[in-house]
């Protein structure tokens, strides 16, 4: 059984940046990811990022994944790809042995790290399963960066083969070079729906239409304009009523919806498609956080239930952190910044705060604020503000 300072679950943009930050500050880091390849959802993002140079603007998502992975591999952090977390314990014998190795950090900020400094070898234990091994890993701090899962939406036959999440379509096309179908109906006109529609066309697949239940397009104008120039109809105030077919999708029925989002009679029509692609939002993958016992709060703006957290990405349990989409659905740029905050703060909790850690935390927090002040940061900013209004039940105030 091994022991590490910081265990990170998830090797996407948030987890990679957390691992880089914590490792650079001198903490022992183990990063676990269930994929064979690091980078999370970045590996299938062929579009260039917006923002400033510091946020990798002009760089394609898949290249950012490679840059971050290279940076992490140059550090002494241990990486466990192809490994799933299958258990989380806080009362494991390993978690209660006193630590002879390193004294508890002396901090002026005792409150920040909870009233009890970590005087034990480990605060918790993860069980890890890979194809070959089953092991246990003790940790002093845990950073959950598990990301999010694609939502489905209610319509008849929404479980037919050929009804795919937008992320699944991206994986199939951009990672494996396989066409998901020949003619696609895209549901949802947020940035994911628009970008994936464009990527489908780049892969030589026809997009019959993009339907959007709201009366206006959800994503950036620049993405919508690209599709419009290619002649793809973006139908606002429209929704999908059903997928047709017995064993797989052979068509779809769409219709207009009113302001109440209810279908308007006699407006339905059939589209000849073999794939229905859903880009209707994501839900944070919070299972580990639920299990850890930290306080969970329902915040619709963040995508559902999220663990309560402060600006240091610390949950109501002072040794459990979170970063990225699991803390609220946003984008890769904010995930990377949240990862840096969580990684630096966790390292400071284990090793004691340093000027470097404080600088990294302050800088990344300022950048997060700046991004969320942008026109599309409203929703997340509003969600995070709602969280701030709730008090954690236990842990740091």
């Amino acid at each position: 059984m091994r022991l590490t300072d910081v265990a990170i679950v998830g090797g996407g943009p948030a987890g990679l940046c957390a691992a880089i930050a914590a490792s650079k500050l001198g903490a022992r880091v183990v990063l676990v990811d269930d994929n064979e390849r690091l980078g999370g959802q970045l590996v299938k993002q062929t579009h260039k990022f917006f923002g400033s140079k510091r946020h990798y603007c002009g760089t394609r998502g898949m290249d950012i994944a490679a840059i971050l992975e290279q940076e992490l591999r140059a550090l002494p952090a241990e990486i466990l790809p192809g490994t799933s977390v299958v258990g989380l314990y806080d009362r494991h014998p390993l978690a209660t042995q006193p630590s002879p190795a390193r004294p508890a950090p002396k901090t002026a900020q005792g409150d920040l790290f909870g009233s009890e400094p970590p005087a034990v070898a480990a605060r918790g234990v993860l069980s890890l399963a890979s194809r070959e091994h089953f092991t246990k890993l003790g940790f002093k701090c845990l950073i959950v960066a598990t990301g999010a899962a694609e939502n489905n939406v209610l319509f008849s036959n929404n479980d037919l083969p050929g009804v795919y999440g937008a992320g699944a379509v991206q994986t199939l096309m951009n990672v494996y070079g396989v066409k998901p179908g020949t003619r696609v109906l895209m549901v949802g006109s947020g940035n994911i729906g628009l970008i994936v529609s464009y990527q489908l066309i780049q892969a030589g697949i026809e997009v019959a239409a993009v339907v959007e239940a709201l009366p206006k397009i959800g994503g950036y104008h620049v993405h919508a304009a690209k599709l419009a120039r290619l002649g793809v109809p973006i139908l606002t105030s429209h929704t999908v009523l059903s997928a047709l077919g017995k064993e797989q999708v052979e068509g779809a029925v769409i219709c207009r919806v009113g302001e109440d989002f209810k279908p308007i009679a006699r407006t339905s029509r059939k589209l000849d498609v073999d794939t229905v692609c859903l880009a209707v939002g994501l839900t944070p993958l919070s299972e580990l956080l639920w299990q850890s016992g930290c306080r969970m709060v329902y915040v619709p703006e963040l995508g559902g239930h999220v663990a309560w957290h402060n600006e240091n990405m610390q949950t109501s349990l002072c040794h459990v952190y979170l970063a990225g989409d699991v803390s609220g659905i946003e984008e890769a740029s904010t995930a990377m910044l949240e990862g840096r905050v969580a990684g630096a703060h966790a390292a400071a909790q284990v090793l004691g705060p340093s000027p470097e850690s404080e600088q990294l935390i302050a800088e990344s927090r300022a950048e997060l604020c700046a991004i969320r002040k942008g026109p599309f940061g409203d929703k997340a900013a509003c969600g995070k503000a709602k969280l701030a209004e709730c008090a954690p039940l236990v842990g740091p105030a």
Binding site: D159, Y164, G165, V178, Q202
Partner: protein
């Protein structure tokens, strides 16, 4: 568990499958290197995939979308999330049921079968 009468084993269905699934031949940004072929069987039929891809990707490239039938209602299912989160893509791989094929790497000689219900442990 309901007996299935409409499993797509008829020829018409297969022709359709062939039309549906294929690989991207030209792409403005990406290049997909031709990695070595991997032979496997699906429902007893020999098929070819590529090294480094998942079983789900190899099946999709061969035009196979129907991966299993559900236990209670016998509904057909394929993959949905393709990243190991939704469990829609459970199949019998080398006799082992409930294998998430969207995460399972394709290996030479592997046997892949559609799963019905919960499957049977070997």
């Amino acid at each position: 568990m309901r007996a299935r009468t409409s499993r797509p084993k008829d020829k018409g269905q297969r022709t359709k499958d062939k039309v549906l699934g294929h690989r991207i031949d030209r792409h403005p940004i990406l290049t997909f290197e031709e990695r070595g072929p991997v032979s496997f069987t699906f429902e007893g039929q020999p098929m070819t995939g590529r090294q480094g891809e998942t079983i789900a990707a190899a099946l999709a490239a061969n035009g196979i979308r129907l991966f299993r039938h559900t236990e209670k209602t016998g509904r057909p299912r394929g993959f949905f999330c393709a990243v190991g989160k939704c469990a829609s893509c459970l199949m019998v791989v080398d006799g082992q049921p409930n294998t998430m094929v969207c995460m399972e790497p394709l290996r030479e000689g592997v046997t892949v079968e559609r799963q019905t219900g919960r499957g049977r442990l070997p």
